[in-house]
């Protein structure tokens, strides 16, 4: 942070170069990208991160902000937590530690679900969605955003997540179609309101215990373990969800359940064995 020059006028280009140097020296990954995002955020223009006018001058206040952001990033805090919000699919979500930051792979999951739904029914047909382990609300809210007639019940074991996903629903104008409850899906006592559901989706914690220690500090030091670690083989929570499916999935011809899982769960590119699944 002392390596960021405090000048009467510091240009965006110089700020990015200085921040990237600091990150490089501190061994922070994605030094250049991190620098671009944080300088853009300091000047209140995060969406222009890819092409900030190089001559744009940072005010003293903005330089102060940048120094703080750089310090946090040197501590390996994720960029998304420092910026406070991030784009996912076609929505923008507030991001707060320790709730899992949405990943690009999960955008892919949402796209696949939308492709399936488009073939199975009309966009205007009501669809009851259950999002288990909702985190920021990413999956459920992205689906609601794309499906005007759908409703979503979301559940998470963490109060940080239930508060955050409700805040996100509000911010996106989707509260009237989104209900989030606090609960542990592995507990038999959990009651889920509003079922049965035509679509169950989950991005459950799926990292095998042994892999946890190999993860970067951005993940392991800042994001909730309960969102990441799925037990010995990483499938504890997924299995618990599959056991519940007969009670939460409706009998419709197009009902479906979707999971995002780990690469280690692919057996020769076949779906992993999670136990008897009543729905094909």
């Amino acid at each position: 942070p002392n390596a960021i020059p405090r000048l009467e006028s510091l240009s965006a280009a110089a700020a990015v170069a200085a921040a990237a140097r600091v990150f490089d020296e501190a061994g922070v990954p994605e030094a250049d990208q991190s620098a671009r995002y944080l300088v853009a955020h300091a000047v209140g223009r995060i969406d222009d991160f890819a092409r900030l006018p190089s001559g744009l001058a940072l005010s003293a206040g903005e330089q102060d902000l940048l120094v703080d952001f750089v310090r946090r990033r040197v501590d390996r805090e994720p960029v998304q937590y420092i910026v406070g919000d991030w784009d996912f699919h076609h929505i923008n979500l507030l991001c707060r530690a320790p709730t899992l930051i949405p990943r690009p792979e999960t955008e892919d999951l949402v796209e696949r679900i939308l492709g399936f739904v488009a073939q199975a029914q009309s966009k205007a047909a009501p669809l009851r969605i259950l999002d288990i382990g909702c985190g920021t609300g990413a999956i459920g809210l992205a689906l609601l955003n794309a499906l005007p007639a759908a409703t979503c019940v979301a559940v998470d074991i963490s109060e940080n997540a239930t508060v955050l996903s409700s805040d996100n629903a509000e911010r996106l104008g989707l509260s009237h179609r989104y209900e989030c409850i606090l609960g542990d899906v592995t507990s038999p006592a959990l009651r889920l309101p509003g079922g049965p559901f035509g679509l169950v989706v989950s991005n459950p914690p799926y990292i095998p215990k042994a892999d946890m220690a190999t993860l970067a500090p951005e993940v392991v030091a800042y994001e909730d373990d309960r969102a990441l670690c799925g037990g010995d083989d990483g499938l504890d929570v997924a299995r618990a969800i599959v056991r519940r499916l007969p009670h939460i999935l409706d009998n419709g011809p197009a009902s479906s359940a979707w999971f995002e899982l780990d690469d280690s769960h692919l057996l020769d590119r076949q779906a992993p064995s999670l136990g008897p699944n009543p729905k094909a």
Binding site: Q33, S34, A50, E111, V219, L228
Partner: protein, 288 residues
């Protein structure tokens, strides 16, 4: 009484004339792409550094024009030139009737002036090429997933919950044509993918259009030109303070161009195009 009637008849004849013209205009074959938004690409041509600066000047003019038209601009891709301006820049222009107006800007723009980089006061001639590509949807241009390879920052590595990276760039390659699009400007990888696919669709459509233009231009001699990318459409001369449009064979004041006031030049092209179409229609009627 007769006077009044004659007066009315003259008025009505005048109105009829105007209505006939209006009707004829409405019956003219329309360019199906006229209402579309466009991907505008400005590329420095011959002339080294000065060509890059000239590309930047063209951009400035189009930015001003877009502003008066109420259009929105979004930069999709840019490659800055060392001495100023751009090697190339691609923008999305959205709003009303964008293609119908900007299509007249497509082609080679030639500038004759003493460049900023010239120390001895000599006049140089440089060029920049403008391509105006209508934005098309997935129905108009369908891309076979087998024809493309998409590489992301995550390709081939650990992903999902295991990793939190902010690099969301996508590298899209269309194998049959070799078109390669690198998209880095969105925070969401999906948005980068969607944008890359949109740009690919636009470029593929433009290739189809160029083929059509070449075919039409071989058949019919049009004054307002083929619209072909390689056509030299205007020369901008600083010493003489004028813009010469080679299609119209007319000059316009250079200052207007610098102010972004290109409406007159565009309207003149539209007028000539309509005239040609009306004559073609009339000729068809005669030969029928």
């Amino acid at each position: 009484m007769r006077e009044m009637i004659r007066g009315e008849m003259k008025d009505l004849e005048g109105q009829m004339g105007a209505l006939e013209e209006k009707l004829t205009l409405l019956l003219l074959p329309k360019d199906p792409n006229d209402g579309k938004n466009v991907m505008l690409e400005i590329r420095a041509g011959t002339g080294g550094d000065e060509a890059g600066i000239w590309a930047g000047d063209l951009l400035t003019t189009y930015e001003k024009f877009a502003s008066t038209e109420g259009w929105k601009l979004r930069i999709l891709d840019e490659s800055k030139a060392d001495m100023g301006g751009y090697k190339s820049i691609t923008l999305e222009v959205t709003g009303e009737s964008v293609y119908s107006k900007l299509k007249w800007e497509a082609g080679v723009h030639r500038v004759q002036r003493v460049p900023a980089t010239e120390s001895q006061g000599r006049v140089h001639t440089s060029t920049a090429t403008v391509a105006v590509m209508p934005e098309v949807d997935e129905v108009t241009v369908t891309i076979d997933p087998k024809d493309i390879t998409l590489t992301t920052a995550r390709s081939g590595g650990a992903g999902g919950q295991n990793v939190n990276k902010v690099e969301t760039a996508v590298d899209l390659m269309h194998k049959p044509t070799g078109i390669r699009i690198f998209c880095t400007q969105e925070r969401s990888q999906l948005k980068n993918k969607d944008l890359a696919m949109q740009m690919l669709r636009n470029r593929l459509y433009e290739m189809q259009l160029e083929e059509q233009r070449a075919a039409v231009s071989a058949e019919r001699k049009s004054q307002v030109g083929s619209g072909l990318r390689s056509e030299k459409i205007r020369t901008y001369n600083w010493k003489d303070n004028r813009v010469s449009d080679h299609r119209l064979n007319r000059n316009f004041p250079l200052q207007r161009f610098l102010d972004g006031d290109i409406a007159d030049m565009i309207d003149a092209c539209i007028a000539v195009d309509q005239q040609e179409k009306m004559e073609a229609m009339a000729a068809e009627k005669l030969s029928a």
